[in-house]
Subunit: 212 residues, 4 copies
DNA sequence: GATGAATGAGCTTTCATTCAT
DNA sequence: GATGAATGAAAGCTCATTCAT
């Protein structure tokens, strides 16, 4: 059994009392990291470069992050949390579980289109962190996957989705499909058009594939 | 547009004339690399460790491979080529394009089950190589994807698959789905059972999803 | 035309603000380097050994010097600058240009006698640096040569030295003569006596050779 | 006391019996080495490159030379021996010791002009060999210096050169002067004109300097 | 004698991280 | 909290040399 515990979280994320000021610094570092990682790649990015970009001293970064991997992983969690929040809001607007899935698929690929730097980091750099791939307990990622799982279960309850569909597997299959398309888009710099067509194709295929 | 050219291939891969003897040495290094990479991970694997495992000198490795990344990428190409050959043979036995897809899906996941070390390297370590993700021209990978694309086109020609399915997108979606399942299997050490169930679920969903 | 530019100078030579403290560290490294280079030779000297001798960490050396060659070249420039300063002071005491030359010749060889480690480095190790021989723009060395050239011109102006003497050539010839004697002294460990006799011989020969 | 013994000489210089064929190979390697050393510098020249240039296998070089330094030193000895032979012949033509010195000086610098590759190797690369500078017993070089020493003694015997001139020191001083001029010519690519003027200047100065 | 595949010692430099101020 | 000078561990790769053929 894989250990997968990431000891980096839970440290003194916010050093001082002045939440406003420090949050700014924490966020400044994360935003700088996205830019630098996207430009140079994770391994070739230097802590000193992120520090310069964020206009803080090298050492200051270690007041907010445990180490270099922790920046990457914090970035992942922070952004994914925002994404999940937004997605929940979007989905709540729809009644039909099948429409919810459609919304999910489209929004996932739209986000890739609208945040190219972040997408480059999440699709390519993040996976190059050994810590992320092997030690990190992907709680937030599981939340994300479960958005799909829940919709499927909802659809099954309403008789719109086949009972023999296994939500735990299909949620991963759908995520994998979207992820591969996103990766291809990032690596080949195919943008809007490609992502929109792909969203349509995947919607059509998945919804037919699981519909009752 | 990303350049993505990998200059490492085509060098003096086989120093001597005695194809038999040298092929053995080349292969010995690759097999050792799979073991070591799977055990320690790409970045933590030492060239000297691969050399020891293969019973050659450190320098000998550089007669057959340009550098550490080249070992990983050669490994990928070599193994993928074998897999493609085997898959083609399997698929050729079936007449029905839909049955061919079923075969493809099942074989992909069976290979993961039967070659856990190789799977671990291809699913996790390979993606951690910056060279592979950013500079490599994935000719063999495209061949692999095209196996799917061809079957889909075949099915469309026979009227078994909807005409509005885009093979170029669906092939990636299917690969992404299989890849994510494989990754999950590798990271959580879920084996045979999980992979078989997943194969069934994915077959059912995809085939329904694209059937005419 | 040979480029001969040495890009190593002008970097962040002094990291901090406390000039006193850092100057000490910079100098400590140079003094240690002279000892180690003289003992082991440039190529066989290890950075780690210089660091240990100077009681700093390996990496600290790279805060003050670009690389190993830069230590050697900085050493050359630093010491040559001191030597030039001292020589100027010595020469200023004499009125007669011929006496100035005598002083120059004697002081050059006395310095070899009084600083055997430094002499060993400058005579033997420095020339073994490819960077020094081929890329370095020898500004300080030209200053040194020009000390001789200026005295000769002065002597010509006063009618003490023949007008047909070419200062630009003779300055090199004299330097070459002194340099070869110094090298022989260093390689065979011939000291005081040899250097003093040589100084007298060279004085006699050169002064007669160029006198009006 | 410096050891200065070079153990590389005396090995099986000429492997076989066929003196013609093997002498050709030995010489081919030396000539190739001059070209390669002049082009790339000693340290950056690869044995394999010299072998390719000489159209022999890497290993063959080790039948004729003990190691890389031995190529350089053999090259030095071979060429210096030729030079000494030629110089002796030239000098023998003159009766007057002072004319002999003149001839010596001019010929030395003419050789630099006529053999730029060889000069580049002897002036720059040779001195970068630690073996040459520190372990080699420079028998041939001493022969060369003694050519000067002998002429001076001859001149003293004939009453043409001052008795208080020390041949052992002046020979080095003269060599040093010529050497520095030669080095400057090589490094700055100053050719014929510069060398000829320098020869004249040095002749004038040295002959006046030591004349009775 | 000739070959060239195989060997394996050898080492600078980078950069994430720390900690005294 | 913020700084940034100082630390020191860490390893890929080259290439002179060897030696079995």
């Amino acid at each position: 059994m894989n250990e997968r515990s990431f000891s980096g979280r839970g440290g003194a994320r916010v050093p001082g009392k002045n939440a406003k000021a420090t949050k700014t610094k924490y966020e400044a570092i994360l935003e700088s990291a996205i830019k630098v990682f996207a430009r140079k790649g994770f391994h070739k990015s230097r802590i000193s470069e992120i520090a310069r970009e964020a206009a803080v001293a090298d050492g200051t970064i270690y007041l907010y992050f445990k180490n270099k991997d922790d920046i990457l992983i914090s970035l992942f969690e922070d952004k994914l949390e925002q994404i999940i929040r937004n997605l929940r809001a979007e989905i709540r607007q729809e009644q039909d579980p099948l429409e919810k899935l459609r919304k999910f698929i489209r929004t996932h690929l739209e986000l890739v289109n609208r945040n190219p730097d972040l997408a480059a980091v999440l699709q390519v750099e993040l996976r190059q962190s050994n810590k992320f791939m092997k030690e990190y307990v992907p709680a937030k990622f599981i939340d994300y996957l479960n958005l799909i799982g829940e919709i499927i279960r909802e659809g099954q309850a309403e008789g719109l989705i086949r009972r023999d569909v296994a939500p735990g597997i299909v949620k991963r299959a759908l995520f994998g499909a979207l992820d591969e398309i996103a990766l291809h888009s990032v690596l080949t710099h195919k943008g809007k058009e490609y992502l929109r067509t792909s969203a349509d194709q995947i919607c059509e295929m998945f919804l037919r594939g699981i519909a009752a």
